[in-house]
């Protein structure tokens, strides 16, 4: 399965994602410069974390206008798998590939810490290696990760089983204490209506090796590998 990892000026999880894909999962990957327009060589495109274009104005607000985003749109339209992590999630929302917006954390501070999230469904190509209700221990690192959408959009997300991940306690309970940033409905990750685009604030690439704290993030990459018939 071939991965394309998009690099905007200011992206900083690109090398982390590359490392996990190539060294942990032994899959081919290439960096995709923000000015490129052809993604046809890839099975999955990752929009990594960072501060694209400095996140001036609003996270992702400038990145959405870059040439590569038009290619990402076409790639998604044709059913390609798109995984937006952290800043990548913000860019996908700004670009309209996912609904809603990521606002400043309610406490106004950046948060880098381990959290738990519950996998709400295992029918997605991003979660089929996980069990429904499985609790994943995973790091976050963001200042603007408070998910917001209007009530009809939220209802639509819920109806379509598109809320894939929710912040929860260690034993899987979704409550305010387990919400690290004020996201509505403890939302940590959502998918597009067609299901092939995922945006998530936590960093699965930061927890694929026991040496650096945990391996729960592997479930997401393993799901992707199962999704593609090679």
């Amino acid at each position: 399965m071939k991965f394309g990892i998009v690099v905007f000026p200011g992206t900083w999880s690109d090398m982390d994602c590359y490392h996990v894909v190539t060294d942990v999962f032994d899959q081919p990957a290439e960096y995709v410069w923000h000015q490129e327009t052809d993604l046809s060589a890839y099975d999955c495109v990752i929009l990594p974390g960072g501060f694209s274009y400095g996140d001036y104005l609003r996270p992702g607000a400038i990145a959405r206008f870059s040439p590569v985003m038009r290619a990402v749109e076409r790639f998604a339209d044709r059913g390609g798998l798109v995984l937006g992590i952290c800043n990548g999630f913000q860019v996908l929302c700004e670009a309209g590939l996912l609904p809603g917006v990521l606002m400043r954390n309610v406490h106004q501070q950046y948060r880098c810490q381990w959290v738990h999230m519950r996998v709400e469904s295992s029918s997605s190509p991003f979660s089929r290696a996980a069990a429904p209700g499985q609790v994943v221990r995973i790091p976050i690192g963001h200042g603007e990760g408070s998910y917001y959408a209007d009530s009809s959009t939220l209802a639509e997300l819920e109806r379509g089983d598109r809320v894939l991940f929710r912040y929860c306690s260690e034993d899987g309970e979704v409550n305010d204490a387990a919400n690290p940033n004020g996201s509505l409905g403890n939302i940590a990750g959502i998918t597009s209506s067609a299901g092939n685009v995922l945006g998530m604030m936590p960093h699965p690439e930061r927890c694929c090796e026991a040496l650096v704290g945990g391996e729960d993030g592997k479930a997401i990459f393993e799901s992707l590998l199962r999704s593609v018939v090679v």
Binding site: D23, G54, R206, G213
Partner: protein, 739 residues
């Protein structure tokens, strides 16, 4: 004399220095030339008061590839073809004036020192000192500095893995903000700050040049300041996005063979960057200020040369390769312009268009006068040294109450509320993040890893500068050894008052002697560093504060330890001592003594032989897989160390050890060279064997288990109570609530 006293004062040049300039130059310098002298001969660039003392630190070490003062940062060989580049630097004065930008640009500056050498920055640490948070002004400085580090550091994708934060009234007007950065580079791709030979081109890359930060080196960092308002325009504003792009673009350029060197623009901007690169290349140089892109119109050559606008680098391009280099910067969307070239005659010439504006020998600019003053031992040491610690009454509170009070005090309490604002996991190499004795990082592609820490105790240096210097090194190395890593290099940030005062000079001299002594004894050379002087306001100097950043090496990074107790039934031993003795002397300079008795007194002490032995024993015990946890005893003494092991592991401890002498000194005294370890019972004999072989003492303290920390007849506190006090202590004070 053609210049006024006022002009000289603004540049922090003495009349005697001015006369020396005129004599050596054979004429009066013009305004631009004088400004260049002011910057390059400043304390910040020229180290005129500290250099003679810093020579004491020089040692030969087989690992050292670049030593102190030679380059932008120190470099050590870690084998496998890899080298680690490291440096710590202060941004105290800018942070006192404008805490957010001061701290942010401090991070930016130290990071540029690292990637200028072709190394990818892999870790940041911060060592911070503030006045008590009970004062609103200090809370503002604390909040601003932390936000600045977080705002800048998180944007550039370098994990901030640790450091320390402490509080004392001594820093009320003058916080210490020291930032350390560490990078990794393939040994044979190391880049130097040199022009290379004549003809090579000076290419300025990055931000436009504005009027910000002029006289930052000579003014802010090189004298005492009274009225902060007048200095506000000299604090620069950072752009972390631009810095991130500069990192990537410069590393790409550094990987090619198109360049002779890279130099960052720090203190004294273009003036110092160009002159130092020319000096290193054995060259002269000429540049045309009209080729420097400006942020504002009407800037004079003087302003262009001395501007400290951030996020700029000087790339020394091999002649004929400028197109290739420019293409790389263009791709990253960075402005890059050739502004001059290296010449063969050793003269620095500054042009504006065709007009020559200044002409000075490079060798004269870099040959700042050095002052070896005579230090005088401060009188007040008589009183603190003679203080009768035996006469300190035992506290009226119970030992358990004292322990909870210490755990909640901002110096001991968890710094989690700060660390979680720093991204400490990006780059996915963080094995142990902030909060332990040392941060641990793996290095991808090899089995090796590194441990990093910063340590320093102003109170110790204040009471005994020589011993304080030794303890700073010993504690930093002990942090590494507790994690299981071998200390291999140090970087030091020396924060002192006005060196022209005999008592301050004495403190500096003694402290550096102590650092040199311990560095040799523990086998970790000082490879780089920074001196921050004039840390005082209205006549009162800060505590002399030597902060040591230390690098440790693991041959196999999977063999490391953390402080957390791991399993009920494990035995807990104290390495480095054969009993728990309550000597009044161990309360010298202790956190307990100041917190509970309001006293800063006594004479701290350390035995470097004992220190070496305990560190060797601990490292072996960790790397041979004998112990399950290890934690250095430092601020707050043995009781606090045990409490931290309990809190981190969520497990209790049952102490069975006898206490001789005073219980307060036994539990909270800060006797050096001790490490608390836990070991499963079947490994006890092996651990004792290691201690015997390494010449380290040991004592059995008790065993892990239960849900409280108990020491028969003295302590009985639940882990939950301790955790509550420790986790919330700093946040409560930062929010303005009473501790």
């Amino acid at each position: 004399m053609a210049v006024s006293k006022r002009t000289l004062d603004e540049l922090a040049i003495s009349e005697r220095e001015y006369e020396a300039i005129v004599e050596r130059l054979g004429r009066e310098p013009n305004q631009l030339e004088l400004g260049m002298f002011g910057s390059l001969w400043s304390e910040h660039c020229g180290y005129k008061h500290s250099k003679p003392l810093l020579r004491m630190l020089a040692v030969d070490s087989p690992r050292q590839l670049v030593g102190p003062g030679e380059e932008n940062a120190g470099v050590v060989d870690i084998g496998d073809g890899l080298a680690i580049v490291m440096k710590i630097e202060s941004h105290n004065h800018p942070s006192a004036i404008e805490p957010y930008q001061g701290a942010a640009t401090g991070v930016g500056g130290i990071v540029r020192d690292i990637f200028a050498m072709g190394a990818r920055p892999i870790a940041l640490l911060n060592s911070l000192r503030f006045g008590p948070l009970t004062e609103q002004r200090n809370r503002r400085l604390f909040g601003g500095v932390v936000a600045g580090i977080s705002g800048y550091g998180n944007c550039i994708g370098i994990p901030d893995v640790g450091g320390e934060i402490s509080f004392s009234p001594s820093y009320s007007e003058n916080p210490l903000v020291n930032a350390m950065c560490v990078g990794v580079v393939e040994r044979d791709r190391l880049v130097r700050a040199t022009t290379g030979g004549p003809g090579n081109l000076l290419m300025l890359v990055g931000a436009d040049t504005g009027r910000d930060g002029i006289h930052g080196a000579s003014g802010l960092a090189s004298r005492t300041f009274e009225d902060e308002r007048e200095l506000r325009p000299t604090v620069q504003v950072g752009n972390p996005f631009l810095e991130k792009i500069l990192i990537e673009a410069c590393l790409e350029v550094a990987g090619t063979d198109h360049i002779a060197g890279i130099q960052d623009l720090g203190a004294a901007g273009l003036a110092s960057a160009c002159v130092e690169a020319a000096e290193n290349g054995g060259c002269g140089m000429e540049l045309d200020v009209s080729l420097v892109p400006r942020r504002e119109a009407g800037m004079s050559p003087y302003e262009v040369m001395l501007s400290e606008s951030q996020e700029r680098m000087l790339v020394l391009v091999k002649v004929g390769h400028e197109e290739e280099v420019k293409r790389i910067f263009d791709r990253w969307g960075l402005e890059s312009n050739v502004i001059g070239r290296a010449t063969g005659d050793g003269i620095a010439r500054i042009y504006e268009g065709d007009t020559l504006k200044g002409e000075l020998p490079v060798g004269l600019l870099t040959d700042a006068p050095l002052y070896r003053l005579k230090g005088v031992r401060p009188d007040w040491l008589d009183a603190t040294e003679a203080y009768d610690l035996e006469g300190v009454p035992l506290p009226s509170q119970s030992p358990s109450s004292v322990l909870l009070r210490l755990l909640a005090s901002p110096n001991v309490a968890s710094k989690e509320s700060v660390f979680r604002q720093y991204d400490h996991q990006v780059q996915t190499d963080t094995v142990t993040g902030p909060g332990a004795d040392a941060a641990v990082l793996r290095i991808k592609g090899v089995s090796k890893g590194i441990a990093l820490t910063t340590d320093g105790n102003g109170r110790y240096c204040h009471l005994a500068p020589y011993v304080g210097g030794m303890i700073a090194v010993a504690e930093a190395c002990r942090n590494l050894s507790s994690a299981g890593a071998e200390p291999i290099a140090l970087t030091d940030c020396l924060n002192f008052g006005n060196p022209e005062r005999a008592d301050v000079y004495y403190q500096m001299e003694e402290c550096i002697k102590g650092i040199a002594q311990a560095s040799k004894a523990l086998g970790a050379p000082v490879v780089s560093g920074n001196v921050s002087l004039y840390n005082e306001t209205r006549g009162a100097a800060v505590y002399p504060t030597a902060v040591i950043g230390a690098l440790g090496l693991f041959e196999d990074v999977t063999r490391h330890a953390t402080p957390a107790f791991r399993e009920a039934g494990d035995l807990v031993l104290l390495l480095g001592a054969e009993e728990v003795r309550g000597d009044a002397a161990s309360m010298a300079g202790a956190e307990y003594l100041e917190l509970v008795h309001g006293l800063v007194a006594g004479v701290p002490s350390i035995d470097l032989d004992r220190e070496q032995a305990v560190q060797r024993a601990c490292r072996r015990a960790v790397t041979e897989g004998v112990v399950k946890s290890a934690h250095d005893c430092s601020e707050g003494g043995l009781a606090v160390a045990l409490a931290e092991c309990c809190i981190a592991g969520g497990l209790g401890f049952r102490g069975t050890f006898p206490i001789s002498g005073r219980w307060d000194a036994a539990l909270f005294g800060e006797d050096q060279s001790r490490i608390v370890v836990s070991v499963s019972p079947e490994y006890r004999a092996r651990l004792e064997g290691i201690c015997r072989e390494e010449g380290a003492g040991w004592a059995l303290l008790g065993e892990v288990g239960g849900d409280s920390l108990s020491v028969a007849g003295h302590l009985e506190v639940t882990v939950r109570e301790m955790a509550e006090a420790w986790h919330g202590g700093l946040e409560r004070q930062a929010a303005g609530q009473a501790g």
